[in-house]
């Protein structure tokens, strides 16, 4: 079972888990806001966004926990087989949650969940049967992110607002970040660190969008929702 796809530069070890935890926290904030609004209005697409960000948050937490575990156990007396086993479980769980989160995001415009399952199941089968599961997963998630970048890009050209621009750029950067992680195993380990910085900028943009949205709702809305 080969799951290696990226190589982290030695100076970045440990920091990656910190970054992933930050991404998870931003996702939790966005999902909490989406659920709060959805409960007030009963708007299903907003609820769907809430679930998407919840799944992404869980995915990042699993990734961060796996990275931290590996870092702390590599120097301990634990057998290599056990370490690799935990690593594989962590990776597959991270992949599953990431695919589900992005899949839900990509199909949020549909009332029914059928398109979500129709895209998720083949993606999971492809990942499970791939020679390199992580590489396959990053290819699929990059596909989702490419679709979402195009969708949000077109939305920006329709709306021309700062909020839609932030979301559009955030997903383009997330796509670049995924491609960077994918290429770090082939070109340079530094790309792994750069990808995390790009993702951080992306999540800050998503958070910036939330701030602008709350500001648009007025001071009462900020007080009432946050």
């Amino acid at each position: 079972m080969a799951v290696t796809v990226y190589i982290a530069p030695p100076w970045f070890l440990g920091y990656d888990a910190l970054f992933q935890t930050l991404f998870a926290l931003v996702c939790i904030v966005i999902s909490a806001f989406a659920f709060r609004v959805a409960s007030r209005t009963g708007a299903k697409p907003v609820q769907r966004i809430g679930w998407s960000f919840s799944l992404l948050a869980l995915s990042y937490f699993v990734q961060a926990a796996t990275s931290t575990f590996l870092l702390t156990k590599l120097s301990s007396g634990m057998t290599v087989a056990s370490i690799m086993g935990v690593r594989a479980i962590g990776m597959y769980l991270h992949i599953l949650l990431m695919l589900a989160g992005l899949g839900l995001f990509a199909t949020m415009g549909f009332e029914s969940l059928t398109p979500f399952w129709l895209t998720l199941i083949p993606a999971l089968v492809a990942v499970l049967y791939a020679e390199n599961a992580l590489r396959a997963a990053y290819t699929v998630t990059s596909g989702y992110l490419l679709f979402l970048s195009a969708k949000f890009g077109m939305n920006y050209f329709r709306k021309k607002g700062v909020e839609s621009l932030l979301i559009s750029l955030a997903f383009i950067l997330l796509l670049a970040s995924h491609v960077g992680i994918f290429l770090s195993g082939i070109l340079s380990p530094s790309l792994y660190a750069l990808a995390h910085f790009l993702a951080l900028v992306s999540y800050l943009m998503i958070l910036g969008n939330l701030y602008l949205v709350l500001k648009k709702g007025g001071p009462k809305a900020v007080k009432g929702i946050s």
Binding site: V37, A43, V46, I49, K151, S164, A221
Partner: protein
């Protein structure tokens, strides 16, 4: 024909359920917290049937209250939950717009 008196100040196209609820509550809010059914009917640009269906729903959900005056005339007032809906609606619309959900 559009709705010159619509709360958004622009002709309304095909409105969704959330927009209609918003428009009704907005009319009530702009009327000082209460409004007569006829005011809501015209300003929110609704048919008679739709108006009473939505008002019944809003009262059932606790977003609006029905009051009957001494002359037997009905008025509707917005509740705290209705105000919260309006606040949530603005944020929700801005949030949905930024993610391209119509």
């Amino acid at each position: 024909m559009g709705a010159p008196d619509s709360p958004q100040g622009q002709p309304s196209q095909k409105r969704g359920r959330l927009e209609i609820i918003h428009d009704i509550l907005r009319v009530i809010e702009r009327g000082g917290g209460q409004a007569k059914p006829t005011q809501i009917l015209y300003r929110a640009n609704l048919s008679n049937q739709m108006l009473y269906d939505y008002l019944a729903e809003l009262v059932a959900k606790g977003m609006a209250e029905q009051r009957i005056g001494k002359t037997g005339r009905r008025t509707y007032s917005i509740t705290r939950k209705g105000e919260e809906y309006l606040q949530g609606y603005h944020s929700m619309r801005a949030f949905m717009d930024s993610y391209g959900i119509s």
